[in-house]
Amino acid sequence: MNNQRTLLLIIFSVTFWLIACEKEITIDLPDVEDKLVVEGKIEYDGITNTPPIVILTKSTGFFEPTDLNSLQDLFVHDAVVTVAVDNISHQLTEFCLSEMLALISSGVIDSSLVEDLLGATLENLIGFEYCLYTIIDNSLYGQPGKSYDLTIVSEGKTYTSTTSIPPLNPLISVWYETQKDDTLGFAWARMYDPPGKGDAYRWYARRISHNGLGEEKDAFFVAPFGSSFEDKFIDGLEFDFAYDRGHRPGDHDDDPGETPHFFKKSDTIVIKFCTIALPVFEFLRIMEVEANSNGSPFASPSTIPTNIDNNGLGLWAGYGVTYDTIFGQ
């Protein structure tokens, strides 16, 4: 359903491909003030104590490059970042990439958490000055049912936000089901949504089976299109659902022998199923709608509903995480 705008665009593209033409144009956009962009998460998975991670960047002009090289110049350093829970405030410390790698190797933080946030593998990031804010003394970690207040003081401005980690809701079962050509299929799951509307969820999957180079097929968890959903239609129901494989934003090539959208029957897949708060769902949903419209005349531009105040952008999100594994056959 979220693909509707894209489909309408397809219709027009097909209908008028014979007579339509396109050309590159120059658009003179006004200079706008950079805004603080917050990308922060705090998780609870019932297994490990996971500290909050916050990445601070700035927005940039529309036609300015936002590749990895350019992005490192957008990181905001020397901000005072605190997270308060149960009326106790904890200050986060800024770590840049070399220090991060040390933290990961010492097991203080999980590499996939960092890669999820940065949107790139750490391997690809080596040589870049990427930084994040976290806490490593185990004094603060995610717990379900608790509310976390984020405060950022940067360049004389103060930004605040609040999120919570909803109670966990483990999937009842997960399995692979062939959809095409006997070997290609989707990951399926059965879940139960407790009565009472207002619950929301997010689905990630990661193939840990190896490719031809002996590496895990996915370096981190991938959220497919439409990965988040609320319980408006499923409140109080037990039901089956499925997701295709999806791809990371920015990934355009699969490993040789892979088919876009499909898992292979032989894949071992780890499912990361998260409970999220409704504002987090709204952010993720509209972000996908917007990413999909991209100037299409068949849609209206959407403003992403940030939960960061004081004219900030981005998201401070709590996740209640459970893991399941589908073993390859």
Partner: protein, 789 residues
């Protein structure tokens, strides 16, 4: 508002009391001698008194004059002028017959029924087009179109290149009351809006009222487009048809019972799918692609007596589009269409009293079907009306025309409905049809009063009542948007209602025989609303009723104009100014997707605001001579202000257009050949552009600036067409007609929309964004061949 009603009643009574002098009634009917059809909109002039009236839809006219000798002149587009001397010493009723000067398919002079009406008629902002005029204008792919022709007049705009959605004086496309033989049409678009559903060959006359909407029309804010179709020839059976680059059509009409009943049937279909299928199969046999539209018009007219006319009119049209990619398991089907059916009875009680009663059904539905392997989603939407209405016209004297009437409509709405099926999702049943129902009632009283030779008024008052009734489930939400409760209303149970008085006023002050000043004030309420998901008219648009949350739209328009004929009425000119405010306008909320309507009331996904439009319209027309044509120019500004959009700040509407210029010229070389050309220029559409961006989770997110903060480049285009109208071969019982044209002569790449092409390979450090402008319709040929039996 009560004061306004009392004023109207008092005014009517006082003015009625002033006809006490000794006078006789001069009335009559104007008919086409060859088809026996009454001629509506013909101008009837009393030469000695310089008085003029127009014939009504039954061809009737009526004067009350002092005893004397008079010369009556009858004029109408493409019709031989009639002059008749009358000695009026008793009541006189005339049966006036005339012949058409040209058959409709010939190249005609650009004239319209504003002959003498430009200065004389009461209402500013009214246009009348005939089939001949529509056909004389160059068209895209040889498919002449009523809406495309109307868009060449000032104050009437298209949504985008080639789009037939109509925006009148800053109003949205749902704010136009589009009537086909008196029956509303809810989506006049074929081919995603590139053509209208109106087959030019069946159109008799098009009246567009963009300013002073008389009280007998209502329910929309911006305009009335009233299209009447041919009754059918009363003498002999005729057939006519044509073939263009994308479609063919055929019309047959004639007597059913000699002098008692006529029929007219017409059909039209595209053959893009038929021609394209083998090509697509040749390219890839696993893929299917198809599109067609078709429509049918039918009309039966029974003249039961000299005083009774009974008619049936029907329309059915549909568009269907499909894509099937078998290897990918992907399918997409979109279909939409309108259907109407109406019965009309007209009874002439006397020369002074005519009753018209109509019952009709009209429906519009759309369906989108998307399938991917075993997963299938369907979206349905539509609106269906049953209506009865009655209008009484009373001509107590030539100074007065009184109209009184009422209507009742039962609306059934099916806003976005979604059905989803998959082999596994057996526990979720989304296959449902949520409907909404409403009663729509209106009464009106209208009086046109000629005070003296210079001053004429039209006063009108319309009372409208709208009731949203059950069955209906109202979903109540808390501050977090979570549905906390549902209120169920039983069938017929009252949910919400509204009633309003809508005053209408227009006046004409004749300065001299060739110039006048007109002014108008109108207030309109609109109880049903189309909410558009896209920036262009699409099958995804939904119609919804006013409800507890959705208040009726209301507009107030003031307009004033100066009208002048010159060079013995060879030229007519006008300059009009208007100011219009619109309240309770509707948009979808930020981030809306159609699935948000599932298990929810659509109105929970709307935001509401106000609109404003003002402008000046210039019009110069050369009506006679070898070269005819017009220049239309509008300088306008249209804005919207919504508390929940653009941080509450006022912004330009997407159809705001600062400059809008149309030049139309037709040159007739001789009886066989003519050349016509159209040039249009318009300020680029307002659109919203991203101003900055940021990265989050590996995705690049656009941050938009102010709503509609950017203008697409200006639009301009030149079209030509040559028509060849050979003399009829006496050995043949048919006649042919050719039209050759070039659309977009200098191949202007006019913008349709802009998108951003991201080469976004984030992990590899590659990121490049280019703005791309998509244009439709480069230089294109147009050919059309027509035949007549």
């Amino acid at each position: 508002m009560v004061k306004q009603l009392l004023f109207l009643i008092c005014f009517t009574l006082i003015s009625l009391a002033s006809w006490s002098q000794t006078e006789f009634v001069l009335s009559g009917t104007v008919t086409n001698d060859s088809t026996k059809e009454p001629i509506a909109g013909a101008t009837v002039i009393i030469k000695e008194l310089q008085k003029a009236v127009s014939t009504d839809n039954n061809g009737l006219f009526n004067f009350t004059l002092p005893e004397g000798n008079y010369t009556i002149v009858i004029r109408h587009i493409g019709m031989s002028e009639i002059t008749k001397a009358v000695e009026l010493n008793k009541n006189v009723n005339l049966q006036l017959k005339t012949n058409m000067e040209t058959i409709v398919t010939e190249t005609v002079e650009i004239t319209d029924s504003k002959i003498d009406g430009n200065v004389e008629k009461t209402d500013p902002g009214t246009l009348v087009l005939t089939k001949a005029e529509v056909k004389s204008i160059p068209s895209m792919l040889g498919q002449t179109d009523v809406l495309a022709a109307l868009q060449l007049y000032p104050g009437v705009q298209s949504a985008a290149q080639g789009i037939s959605g109509m925006y009148v004086r800053g109003g949205g496309p749902d704010q136009n009351l589009i009537l086909l033989d008196g029956v509303p049409i809810y989506n006049p678009a074929h081919l995603f809006g590139f053509y209208s559903i109106f087959n030019t060959n069946v159109v008799e006359k098009v009246t567009l009222i963009k300013g002073a909407m008389p009280a007998n029309y209502g329910g929309r804010l911006s305009s009335v487009m009233d299209i009447t179709t041919n009754d059918g020839n009363d003498s002999t059976i005729h057939a006519s048809g044509g073939t263009g680059l994308i479609s063919a059509d055929l019309t047959i009409d004639g007597p059913l019972f000699k002098n008692k009943a006529t029929f007219s049937i017409s059909g039209r279909r595209t053959y893009i799918d038929v021609l394209g299928k083998p090509i697509i199969q040749l390219i890839d046999k696993d893929k299917e692609w198809g599109y067609y539209f078709q429509d049918f018009n039918g009309k039966l007219v029974f003249h039961l007596s000299d005083k009774d006319k009974f008619s049936y009119s029907g329309y059915y049209g549909e568009d269907a589009f499909k894509i099937l990619n078998k290897p990918a398991g992907f399918g997409l089907g979109i279909s939409w269409g309108n259907a109407t059916s109406s019965l009309t009875w007209q009874h002439i009680f006397s020369d002074k009293l005519v009753l018209s009663t109509q019952a009709y059904y009209t429906g519009y539905r759309s369906k989108i079907d998307i399938s991917q392997n075993t997963y299938e989603v369907k979206l349905y939407s539509g609106i269906y009306d049953w209506c009865g209405k009655s209008d009484l016209k009373y001509y107590p004297s030539d100074r007065h025309t009184i109209k009184i009437g009422g209507s009742y409509t039962y609306h059934t709405f099916t806003p976005t409905n979604i059905a989803a099926n998959t082999d596994a999702l057996t526990t979720i049943d989304l296959d449902q049809r949520i409907k909404q129902y409403s009663h729509d009632v209106a009464f009106y009283l209208s009086e046109e009063y000629t005070m003296n030779n210079r001053l004429r008024f039209r006063l009108g008052l319309r009372y409208s009542y709208f009731q949203h009734v059950g069955p209906f489930d109202k979903y109540l939400k808390n501050e977090f948007g979570i549905i906390t409760d549902t209120i169920h209303y039983e069938r017929g149970e009252h949910v919400a209602d509204y009633n309003h008085l809508e005053p209408r006023f227009s006046a004409r002050l004749l300065l001299n025989s060739s110039s006048s000043i007109k002014m108008a004030y109108v207030q309109n309420y609109q109880y049903i609303h189309m909410v558009s998901y896209a920036t262009v008219s699409m099958p995804t648009d939904i119609w919804i009723p006013s409800s507890e949350k959705v208040k009726p739209q209301v507009s107030t328009q003031y307009s004033i104009g100066y009208f002048k004929d010159s060079k013995n009425k060879v030229y007519e000119t006008s300059i009009e100014m208007y100011y219009k405010t619109m309240a309770n306008q509707i948009e979808f909320k930020n981030g809306y997707s159609p699935e948000d309507d599932l298990l929810d009331n659509p109105e929970n996904n709307f935001v509401f605001g106000d609109g404003k439009s003002y402008g000046i319209e210039l019009f110069i027309k050369k009506k006679t001579g070898k070269t005819t044509g017009w220049i239309g120019y509008a300088l306008t500004s249209t804005s919207r202000q919504f508390p929940d959009i653009n941080s509450g700040e006022e912004y330009y509407a997407k159809y705001d257009r600062r400059h809008d210029l149309s030049l139309v010229a037709v040159h007739k070389f001789n009886e066989n050949w003519s050349l016509s050309g159209v040039f249009v220029y318009a300020t680029g559409n307002a659109t919203t552009m991203p101003e900055s961006r940021y990265a989050i989770g590996g995705s690049i997110i656009n941050e938009y600036g102010k709503r509609n903060n950017y203008r697409l480049v200006d639009y301009h285009r030149l079209d030509f067409s040559v028509t060849y109208n050979p003399k009829k071969n006496k050995n043949r019982n048919y006649k042919t007609f050719w039209s050759f044209g070039i659309y977009n002569v200098y191949n202007r790449n006019n913008p349709y929309f802009i998108y951003f092409d991201d080469s976004n390979y984030f992990n590899e450090g590659i990121f490049d964004t280019k703005a791309k402008q998509v244009s439709l319709f480069p230089i294109m040929p147009a050919v059309r061949w027509e035949y007549f039996f």
